[in-house]
Symmetry: C2
Subunit: 383 residues, 2 copies
């Protein structure tokens, strides 16, 4: 592994793009726990969940563009979302959009991006950041990415781990080891383990111990190193991805994709790369404490909107009109109807033209089971 | 006062109409506590609140028609509701619809009906029954009316009082005295007082005492006696009503109504007739224990629908589609949208094309304050 080869491109008061770095935005996943706002036709990343006036996909793009450069962001998304994604990201070139015929989970999505980019630009460093997470401080995010890029340049599989603010059970945890001595990554730690979403009791232990971070699903690595690690656990998947990547920029892309993609193994990159790399001692983490949320359900959306304050009523939606009396929680509306709340606390009201959801923050995680029930009953018209 | 002159018209297995009896249905009042279901343009009595498949105005008509005869039911309603009322009651003749240019409360509404009918048919007995109450047993209702008609025929102002099933604070109470000995009214009692909606504590005392009944707003009297009693407390109101009634069936109706009606005093008949008659000793009550409800708010609507069982979810609306998980309360929908409830108990969801209400049974009475707030803020488009 080499020492840091990171440098700035250009100079000026504006932050400049990080050399050799390419951002990858996997824009998949419907966000079932945000139904009926999120739909197959309008997944989570195509909504304005922050009240910023733009989709969180666009927020993600705007956060990454100053780091990698506008022409160095690749988006991996479903074919069905091509038009919506391009409308959100007019700067996105055809070369930088990867369309999946069907979702194959994060190993295939990020792996294909890595394989394509590595072929085009050997030695490229990629950073993968979900299209549908929210980051509250782009400056600190950038600092963490720069440290992670230094780790990646040194051969590590790097991740950015979030300082836990509560014993959340909706996130995986990263067990941190000792410091990693890499120039340009002063706060980096080794990772001794990746842990699945824990029970509340265990989450409390983790948080109290001070040696665990939330897994925010951000992975930064040299593309060749990422693929090498993937190949150790998923050699057939890697072979398939390389076959597609080899054909990608030529005339046979369509035929090869159609032949190979459907047979690829669906597996999260946490399992195929991160966990094994942690065991091998080549995973490092940059601890970060900027506000971050994966907006996993309406409870977290409510919290995000209210800044964590109780007894507040968060309101989302361009034309949402709410008349509330002694009520707290969150209202999301796409209909422009007058929504009146009386004496309902911690309520979740999601008002769309064809479906209405009423629940509470406490039960927000159960929204997914409703979506599952609708699927089973064939009510796909509202999914 | 004479002894009972009540007789049956005709014979047969079907109940026959009660002689000399005329039903009056005041169909006024929006039912603000049932907003956004009830509107100025679609008041409570124009809704199917029982799931019977017809409006409660029609239910009321069907309950009264066998007692007074179809051609002896007079409806007093607002001009704005003429078409809707006539659509509901195609049997209603022009002579039997009284249209108010503006609401003037129950003394004017019932008093005008009494004055018109007394002029047309001296000695007529009228019974006034709200258009928007629900009665669960038409046979027992009929029996109570027949007893009340006997009391009326003997000169009493009669009412039907409901046996309380709980210490309700949404109803007025009737304080019963001793038996009244009138042929044909074996269960009748004298009334020693009319009491406003009490506090819960006092309501409990009333119910425990066994000598109080709920005031269901049903008044039965000879029209001349009712007007006589009204004239004792509201002589100017009576004079106005008589002036209108004298012109009613002639060419000057419109002019006289336009001149006199706007100046009439707004006062509930409970205050102008019932209370003073109780003091005078000429008010009598027929205790009744058929299921009855004024469906005053969504809590009582929920209770009505569930038969009082807790943990049930009542669903109203022809096209209402609900997917519920661990939820109870009531859902009323006019939109046909899929409504999903998760973990909300005692919830009230009222879903209309331009307004959505979410509250709980506990807070159902507060819906009126929202309507008041909307009025004050000029948001009359949704009222």
């Amino acid at each position: 592994m080499t020492d840091s080869g990171i440098s700035w491109r250009g100079r000026g008061t504006e932050p400049e793009a990080v050399d050799r770095f390419y951002s990858v935005i996997p824009a998949g996943g419907i966000g079932s726990r945000l139904w009926p706002l999120s739909r197959a036709s309008a997944p989570k990343f195509l909504h304005d969940l922050t009240g910023s006036g733009q989709t969180i996909l666009r927020d993600t793009w705007n956060r990454l563009a100053p780091i990698s450069g506008t022409d160095r962001i690749m988006v991996v998304t479903g074919r069905a979302h091509r038009a919506a994604v391009e409308a959100q990201l007019p700067e996105l070139s055809d070369a930088n959009i990867v369309l999946e015929s069907e979702g194959k989970d994060s190993s295939a999505a990020i792996g294909l991006a890595a394989a394509i980019l590595e072929k085009r630009e050997p030695g490229v460093i990629i950073g993968s950041f979900a299209a549908d997470h929210v980051v509250g401080d782009n400056r600190r995010f950038r600092q963490a990415v720069i440290e992670a890029v230094a780790l990646a340049d040194a051969g590590y599989i790097a991740t950015i781990g979030m300082q836990p603010t509560e014993p959340a059970i909706a996130f995986g945890y990263i067990h941190c080891g000792g410091p990693v001595t890499i120039a340009g990554a002063p706060s980096a730690l080794s990772v001794t383990g990746f842990v699945e979403k824990p029970s509340l009791e265990i989450a409390k232990e983790y948080v109290d111990s001070g040696s665990y971070l939330w897994n925010a699903g951000m992975f930064i690595a040299r593309a060749d190193r990422l693929l090498e690690q993937l190949g150790k656990t998923q050699p057939r998947l890697l072979a398939g991805l390389r076959e597609i990547a080899d054909a990608w920029d030529g005339p046979d892309r369509g035929a090869v994709v159609d032949r190979v993609w459907p047979g690829l193994t669906k597996i999260a990159i946490d399992y195929s790369v991160a966990e094994p790399s942690a065991k091998e001692g080549v995973l490092a983490v940059v601890p970060a404490d900027f506000p971050w949320d994966d907006v996993g359900d309406f409870a977290s959306l409510a919290k995000l909107q209210s800044g964590g304050r109780k007894n507040e009523l968060a309101i989302l939606g361009e034309h949402t009109r709410v008349l509330a009396d002694s009520s707290s929680g969150i209202v999301v509306s796409e209909t422009g109807r007058l929504i009146t709340l009386i004496g309902v606390e911690g309520i979740v009201v999601v008002d769309t033209p064809d479906a209405l959801l009423v629940t509470t923050s406490e039960h927000a995680q159960r929204v997914k089971s409703v979506v599952d029930a609708l699927k089973l009953s064939g009510r796909t018209d509202v999914l």
